[in-house]
Structures are given as structure tokens and as C-alpha cells.
Amino acid sequence: MSEEWPLLTFTILGQLAIGTFIMLVIVRSLLGAKIGAKAAGEVTRFGILAVGPVMLVALIASFFHLGSPMLAFNALGNLKTSWLSREILFTGLFFLLWLITYYSSKKEGSGQVLSWCTSIVGLIAVFCMAGIYAHSNKPAWTNVNTYLTFFGAAFVMGAIASGAAVAYGAKGKSHEEPIRRILSNVSLIALFTIAVQLIFLPVYMGGLAGTGEAAQASVQLLSGSYAVPFVLKWILSILVGVMVFYVSTKRGNNQGVSPNLIYTALGVAILSEFIGRYVFYSTAVSAIFGM
């Protein structure tokens, strides 16, 4: 497992950055209709700015996975069949487009179309990330759970991070009601995403138990050596669910909700995804003859 820390950092931070960007673009256009594009842009500006550095750290982390990092750009050499090539292309492209989007969004009224393009590139990047694992020789990964886990992480962390960014960006500003409504809505998205993953969990475990030695070895790791982090991940996810549910009920309340609660929810969500991804890498067993 120790050798997978770079990939763990890359996938978690990459999905955090992409999920946050997409959610903020949605939030910005919804808010724009209520409080005007300029105000919506101001409220989301800090969040969109923060996406870039997070993505950059993710990309740098990915280099540490390579045995020969000096040749890293060779990784674009097989776009025709390799999901890894595609992942590098689209994550790199996402970062470049973020740069362009960020600078063009400083000019009022422009950048909206570009933001949506960047979001779509981000979605494709997450799909390619999952594709790598889904096309491996590890039965714990070669199923729909990988896609669910990666998109789930992007949307849980992204939704809450967009809420946190809006709560931060709206400090000391008016427009209280539309902002509360947005916070409530992104919380519901996070809650829904957690619920879907939780419902699918028994399907995933059941599916593994029925297929081959390597899959059963994974089940044994999940229920044995890695049972503690595996359970902890889901306890933390449920805790996040409770927190965002609380935030979502504060829609009509004049008091609103403390930004600290949203920041805490974001911290716990990132921690839970981090632990979950650690378990994801640690419990996958290769179906290799004789090993």
C-alpha cells in the first residue's frame, strides 16, 4: 500500500478540485439568476481560485507514483487504448482550462461558456481516472463501484466545498436568503450522493463474494485487516450526511447556519474520502496466476 500514497493524493485532490469547480459553476449560474451575475461571481470567486492550486498539488503528487518521472510526458503516448493516457490528458487539460477560465472570469460577463467546457473536461477526467482501475486485473476495481466511488468523492467533496466557498465568499454581504437556499441545495446533493453509495455498498460486497479467489481475498481484507478504516470511513460519511442534512433544513430560518459547521463538514468529508481511498487501494488484490 505504501507505494500508492501519490495516487491516493492525486485522485482525492483531483476529484476535490474537479467536483468543487463543477459545483461552483452550477452555484454561480443559479445564484446569478437571483442576485445578479456580478454578485454571484464575487461570492464564488475565492472558491474557483482555490480549485487551481489544489489541482496543481494533485498533478505534482502523481509524478511521485512514477519510477521514471523525468519521462512523465511519455504518458500521453497511447490515447487510443490507455485510460492512463486519457486521464493525464484530461486532468492536465482541466488545469489549463481552469487557468484560462479564472483569468477570463475576472472580466465581467465572459467565461461562462468556458466554465461549462472546463466542467465537462473535469467530468471526463474523473471518468478516465475510474477507467484505469476498472480495466485492471483487480476484481475489487473492475466493476461499477469504482465509477461510483470516484464520482461520489467528486460530488460529495465538491458539493460541500462549494457550500463552504459560498459561505466564505458571502461573509458580510447581503443576499442572505438566496445564499441559504444554495447552501441547502448543495447539502442535499452531498446527502443524496452519500446515500447512493451507501445503498450500493452491499451490492458491491455481495458481487465480490461471488467471483474468484482474488475478489474473495479483497472481501477478507475488507472484513479483516482493513475492517476498522472501512467502517470508520462510512461512520464519517454518515456523520457528514447528518451535518449536511442539518444545513439543508436551515433554508427558511433567518438565523441561517454557521459557516463553521460547513467547514467542519468539508473537513470530515475529505477525511472520510481519504480513508475510503486508502481502503480502496489496500484491499484490491490482483488476479494473477500463481501469486
Binding site: L66, G67, L71, N74, L76, G77, L84, F289
Partner: protein, 191 residues
């Protein structure tokens, strides 16, 4: 790819001495932990009561597997750099060290464990069908080393015409995943 080369494995002859494994390691000067050809032991059966006696009904068989130079190699498909490639003239799957970035995607792809990562080099290495030997008209090192003549190199088409098309025995990965260029004559307990 009519000239695809392959290996005929007489599993029923193999006695698990691992001379092929050692010859390969020697030929390619591999570090500890690396075996481009590997002998896998599969055992089974049980004991049964026969009157007052307890008698064995057990078996062991071995399978020598290196790179199978598959028709549909998962390593080549998933390699992001093109370092892993399949030669058109004889279908040998080769690895170009100079392009390899050490991402280990091939290691995560092959069901036979053929590509192996060398942390010293920061690159992957694998069986090359002893190309230098074959070009001189010799057999690959594993084939020459086998004391019971359980391994044979040759054109896959010819091997299949002579010995059939079985490429998978009990306990082995589904041959439909990568379509390995091997022919196996099974051990009686591996059918």
C-alpha cells in the same frame, strides 16, 4: 499475424524443478524478487479411510508460465507510453525501456504476472522470448533448460495444429481475457 510464435507447455510432464525459472533468471540477470518465468504449483485431493487404513488420494501439478505474447495483450492496451508493444512480424510482446515511465499499469493489467517492476531501474521488465537466442536459431533459455522437455517454442499455428488449442487449465486465468499464445497439454488432474 500468421507468424505468431508461442510456447507449447506439456503440463503433464512438468515435475516442478523450476529449471526454466532459474535459466530465465540467469539469462536476463534478474534481481531478487523478479521471475519473468514462474512455475506455479497447484495441489489438491484428500485422504480417505479404507478399512483400518487411511489412504491418500492427492495430486500436485505445476505450470510454467512466462509472457504468453497474447493475441490481445492487456499490458499493451493499458500502457500509456507505447513502451509495451506487440511486434507485427512474430507477435512477440516487447518492452522498450527507454519509453517506460515506471507507472506499473502493465503490472496491474496482466493476468499472468508477466511484466514485473524493478524498483532499482524505476522501470518494468518482461520476457522477450529470448529474442537474441531465437534470432540465432536457438530456443529460448527456459525451453533449452527443461530436463523433461516439457516446454517447446515454435510457431503458434504449427503448435496448435499438432497439439490442439487448449490455453487454459484448472486454476488458470480465463484465456478469453487476453488470448495467450500458448498450447497446453494438461496434467490429468488439471482438466
Amino acid at each position: 499475424m500468421t507468424q505468431q510464435v508461442g510456447i507449447f507447455i506439456e503440463q503433464h510432464r512438468c515435475m516442478g524443478c523450476k529449471a526454466c525459472q532459474a535459466a530465465c533468471k540467469d539469462k536476463h540477470d534478474l534481481e531478487v524478487g523478479q521471475l519473468w518465468r514462474r512455475v506455479t504449483e497447484i495441489e489438491g485431493g484428500s485422504y480417505f479411510e479404507d478399512g483400518a487404513a487411511i489412504r491418500p488420494n492427492v495430486f500436485t501439478y505445476w505450470t510454467s508460465i512466462g509472457c504468453n505474447h497474447c493475441a490481445n495483450p492487456a499490458c499493451v492496451k493499458n500502457c500509456p507510453t507505447g513502451a509495451m508493444f506487440k511486434r507485427s512480424e512474430d507477435g512477440i510482446v516487447l518492452h522498450d525501456d527507454s519509453k517506460c515511465i515506471g507507472c506499473r499499469m502493465c503490472v496491474w493489467s496482466c493476468p499472468y504476472g508477466a511484466p514485473q517492476y524493478d524498483p532499482e531501474k524505476g522501470k518494468v521488465g518482461k520476457c522477450d522470448y529470448c529474442l537474441d537466442f531465437v534470432q540465432k536459431g536457438k530456443d529460448p533459455a527456459c525451453v533449452s533448460a527443461c530436463p523433461v522437455r516439457a516446454l517447446h517454442a515454435g510457431k503458434l499455428e504449427e503448435l496448435q495444429a499438432k497439439y490442439g488449442t487448449k490455453a487454459q487449465t484448472k486454476g488458470m486465468p480465463d484465456a478469453n481475457i487476453t488470448h495467450p499464445s500458448i498450447v497446453i497439454k494438461s496434467h490429468k488432474d488439471a482438466i
